[in-house]
């Protein structure tokens, strides 16, 4: 009897709990559909769209993680940008800052104190309210060395970390050791993390493991326009509308418009083109120029857009690592050529950059003589000489460096060094990137005319990166970098001699050359200079040094080429990443257009 009563009681409890849950869920779903009085939502300008529908877009590779702390690869960042939000955001179209989770900010006159005011009544995508503790937690985690956050260095100014202090429930103060050149732009990209979900993992030291792709949808939340719905390994990642998102359109209806975004994992560029062409995907970005013209020629129900020059710069660099005594004699001999500045200048002078733009990018790109592309006019040093191709100058430079031409038995002339050894080396390039392989083939032919024998070796990207950064077994390499902001600061680890992306000689303990030491100094200075004109002057000098010493021989920069179905509203591609998804909350499907098939 007792047992029976107990079980009835249990049933009753279960029923009550279930009912409670249903009510909870019901209120959770119905509540945010109209903005409550307490919520301070951000109204964004732009064409008003239609609610519902979904878009399908292909990703070149599977995202490595959903965790913004450790995301380093482009696809992870692209996915995360739709799921997370920052305090102050850089508008990808205007490249200016605008309020995000912080509705306003104040910078003290000495440039050392930033006071940010948080919006009221915001909620994470799981309905949990956002408060100041989340913000404090976020920056504590990013600054914790044990976490190894990828962007941690940007919060260390003059060797001292930024301190974060709560003033009241809505106000937070960031105290800097020295003024920070970028100003409020520094807050872009720091996703505010849900303390309620991550604190336990953080205390256990397992934060880096959280946010893996297999994470259950209810165990992951953010403040972005979309939240995790489903992940099928190797196939797709589905995000659904975040019902608590904090932006509205001009009419006051809550964004985002779309119900879902489906990311398909389509590893090859050609397969992406085919999927887009057959209507399986709605948008396509990171297109090569040749595929762009194929799609443009056959355009039917989609529009193709050349958004203009982007921030990707491609370059050739030589192995300038100090390999010590263990280095084989052959590599040491080659390095003695590569170390000669005149040799590098001669190579640069011999490269036909215009041909690269025409043959590789079909004219949809720009030749480069420095790391700052025409897509970033604000930071480019206009004084850098755009030296045209001149084989005569190259030959002269090589002669000055002690190289000479001899004629080989087959009638070809060959370049030999001072010891009479023929100049032969190989250029490694990523096999999956057809553009760079083509650049390398053009360079091979250019250098043949100087009498150099060059071989092009396409390698799988991972083994290429491994050779460049770990084993250092290579002669020369063609690679590209895409900055994710127009500002020079995200490039710090490329230019600082101790940076791990200082490709020609990464992670040096002391700068190997005087000019690298000078770049270090200039980059540190521009970090703390408050006035933009002064920063520009310092960065101009960095560009001058790079152009003079040619540690990287800059080649060309492609335009941002994208496409979308005509049915996608508010499609305004930007030259900053993510090119087509930067305004994902405003994208919509026009007049109930048929959704792309899954």
């Amino acid at each position: 009897m007792n047992e029976r009563r107990a079980s009835l009681w249990q049933i009753g409890t279960v029923f009550a709990v279930t009912l409670g849950c249903v009510l909870c869920i019901h209120s959770a779903v119905s509540f945010p559909s109209q903005a409550s009085a307490k919520e301070e939502l951000l109204r964004v300008a732009g064409e008003s769209g239609r609610r519902g529908g979904r878009i399908v877009i292909a990703l070149r590779s599977e995202p490595k993680t959903l965790n913004p702390l450790i995301a380093a690869d482009g696809t992870s960042r692209e996915v995360i940008s739709a799921m997370q939000a920052d305090l102050v955001h850089i508008n990808r179209a205007t490249q200016l800052t605008e309020p995000a989770l912080a509705k306003s900010w104040k910078i003290s006159a000495d440039g050392l104190r930033y006071t940010l005011t948080l919006r009221q009544g915001l909620k994470f995508s799981d309905g949990h309210p956002l408060d100041m503790e989340d913000v404090l937690f976020t920056f504590r985690v990013y600054l914790d060395e044990a976490v190894h956050a990828t962007q941690r260095d940007l919060l260390i100014i003059d060797g001292k970390p930024i301190t974060v202090r709560k003033v009241d429930a809505q106000t937070v103060v960031f105290q800097l050791a020295k003024p920070y050149g970028v100003g409020e732009r520094m807050f872009d990209g720091w996703a505010i993390l849900p303390r309620h979900l991550l604190e336990t993992a953080y205390k256990e030291g397992k934060l880096a493991q959280s946010g893996a792709l297999g994470t259950a949808a209810n165990q992951w939340a953010g403040l972005g326009a979309f939240r995790l719905k489903e992940y099928v390994a190797g196939q797709r990642l589905v995000l659904e509308r975040n019902p608590y998102y904090w932006k509205t359109d001009e009419q006051g209806s809550r964004l985002p418009y779309l119900d879902e975004i489906v990311f398909l994992i389509v590893p090859s560029a050609d397969a992406q083109v085919l999927r887009f062409q057959s209507g399986e995907t709605d948008m396509i970005s990171r297109l090569g120029a040749e595929n762009f013209s194929v799609l443009s020629r056959q355009a039917r129900d989609y529009t193709m857009t050349d958004a203009g020059p982007g921030l990707e710069y491609n370059f050739l660099f030589f192995n300038l690592n100090e390999l010590g005594e263990k280095a084989p004699a052959e590599i040491a001999r080659k390095q003695s050529w590569f170390r000669a500045e005149k040799f590098r200048q001669a190579v640069s002078q011999a490269i036909d950059r215009e041909a690269i733009v025409r043959l590789v990018y079909q004219g949809r790109g720009a030749a480069l003589w420095g790391p700052v592309t025409p897509g970033n006019p604000r930071w480019a040093n206009a004084a850098i000489a755009h030296a045209g191709r001149s084989l005569d100058k190259s030959r002269q430079l090589l002669a000055e460096a002690g190289f000479r031409l001899i004629s080989a038995e087959n009638g070809e002339s060959r370049l030999v060094d001072a010891d009479g050894k023929p100049v032969e080396f190989s250029i490694i390039t990523s096999a999956s990137n057809a553009d760079r392989a083509k650049m390398a083939a053009l360079i091979q032919d250019d250098l043949k005319q100087l009498g150099m024998r060059v071989q092009v070796v396409p390698l799988e990207l991972r083994s290429l990166i491994d050779r460049v950064t770990q084993t250092k077994e290579y002669d020369a390499c063609v690679l590209g970098i895409t900055s994710y902001d127009a500002d020079p600061n995200p490039e710090l680890n490329v230019w600082l001699s101790n940076g791990d992306m200082h490709l020609w000689n990464p992670s040096q303990k002391h700068p190997a050359t005087d000019w690298e030491a000078e770049i270090d100094r200039l980059m540190e200075q521009q970090l703390t200079a408050t006035n933009t004109a002064q920063r520009k002057k310092l960065y101009d000098r960095v560009q001058e040094i790079l152009s003079e010493h040619q540690p990287m021989i800059f080649l060309a920069s492609p335009d941002i080429l994208v496409g979308a179905k005509r049915s996608i509203g508010n499609f305004h591609p930007a030259v900053l990443e993510p090119y087509v998804l930067w305004n994902v909350e405003q994208l919509y499907q026009r007049n109930g257009a048929e959704n792309a098939r899954r």
Partner: protein, 348 residues
């Protein structure tokens, strides 16, 4: 037509084709690696005999092509000026069969002439097909030669001696038959230094092709040797005190000639195809040295596949060669048994 005259015709056609490829430098108007950056993906030019006014020209002529303004792969003909084809002109240096240096080319023009079009770097496709044929065919011929010599030696040894030697050799042959050779090559490539010069890469390809293919001919040769060594005339010779070497040389191996020749005719195209596969996958000779395989590799890109039909032409180039070899093989096979090879080729 008798078998013999058919065979002769087939051999003559094949010889002519090979001669054309061997003298690629003469028939090709340009150096196969020379880039013409003003003319990427130029379509094949048409040779004309009748001009715009209806006038007939005995000497063929063509119109110069230039990129349409604003485009990077669409060309238009400049019909205002007819450019006559010139014969026996001096151009890029080359060596006939790798020895005789020459500059004379069969044809050319005052402006670049691309009879089969050009590739993405503006390299003449005709020149590349001809020079590429040298690499691909040579790989096939040397590979087949190597395979057959190894196969002949091992097959004869196994068949002649029999016993445990036969067992051992045949088990090894089966092992080689079961080897996935493409993965073997991947593995071998991984052990080599990063950059392999074209000649080394070429030798490696031949070595792998030759080393892996010997098992099948060896088994066939062994079968013939097994039956031949029991024939009466062989036994008689043995009875007269002939040595093993003499028997093999004089009586047994000649019996295998027809099989070996048939095998050769089958193996050459097979090995040409193997070289093409390897180069297509980027494991063969490296750019800019052409081979039929690495020329077709550009078709791995979707835009090339749908935009430039003339990039398929290297695939067509192998058709007459393969056809020739396979017809030869079937003729040889047909004549096998009825007559000895010596009789078939008696008059050649």
């Amino acid at each position: 037509m008798s078998t013999r005259s058919r065979l002769l015709l087939c051999v003559a056609v094949l010889a002519a084709l090979h001669l054309g490829v061997a003298c690629a430098g003469f028939f090709a108007p340009y150096d196969p690696a020379a880039q013409d950056r003003e003319h990427p993906y130029a379509p094949p030019m048409r040779l004309h005999f009748v001009d715009g006014q209806g006038g007939l020209h005995l000497r063929p002529f063509f119109y110069a092509q230039a990129l349409r303004s604003g485009s990077f792969d669409a060309y238009e003909e400049n019909r205002t000026r007819a450019i006559p084809v010139k014969f026996f002109i001096s151009g890029a240096p080359y060596r006939v069969l790798g020895v005789l240096p020459l500059r004379m080319h069969l044809f050319g023009g005052d402006v670049p002439v691309y009879l089969l079009g050009s590739d993405g770097y503006g390299r003449d496709l005709l020149s590349r097909v001809l020079f590429g044929g040298q690499v691909s065919l040579l790989a096939g011929l040397i590979g087949a030669g190597l395979t057959l010599s190894i196969g002949l030696c091992i097959g004869a040894a196994a068949g002649f001696w029999g016993g445990w030697k036969d067992e051992a050799l045949m088990r090894v042959a089966e092992l080689f038959l079961a080897l996935p050779w493409i993965y073997l090559l991947f593995a071998m490539r991984a052990f080599l230094p990063l950059a392999v010069p074209p000649l080394k890469a070429f030798l490696l390809v031949i070595m792998v092709i030759g080393a892996v293919g010997w098992a099948r001919p060896a088994r066939m040769v062994r079968g013939i040797v097994l039956s031949a060594k029991e024939r009466d005339f062989v036994r008689a010779a043995r009875g007269f005190g002939a040595s093993g070497g003499y028997l093999l040389r004089q009586h047994i191996l000649p019996e295998t000639a027809s099989v070996v020749l048939t095998q050769a005719a089958i193996l050459v195209p097979q090995f040409v195809l193997a070289e093409m596969t390897l180069s297509f996958l980027g494991l063969g000779v490296p750019e800019p040295v052409p081979s039929w395989g690495n020329m077709l590799a550009s078709l791995q890109h979707y835009n090339v596949l749908v935009s430039y039909w003339w990039m398929y032409l290297p695939a067509l180039a192998m058709v007459p060669f393969f056809l020739g070899y396979l017809v030869l093989a079937s003729l040889l096979q047909g004549s096998r048994g009825t007559s000895k090879i010596g009789e078939v080729f008696g008059g050649v």
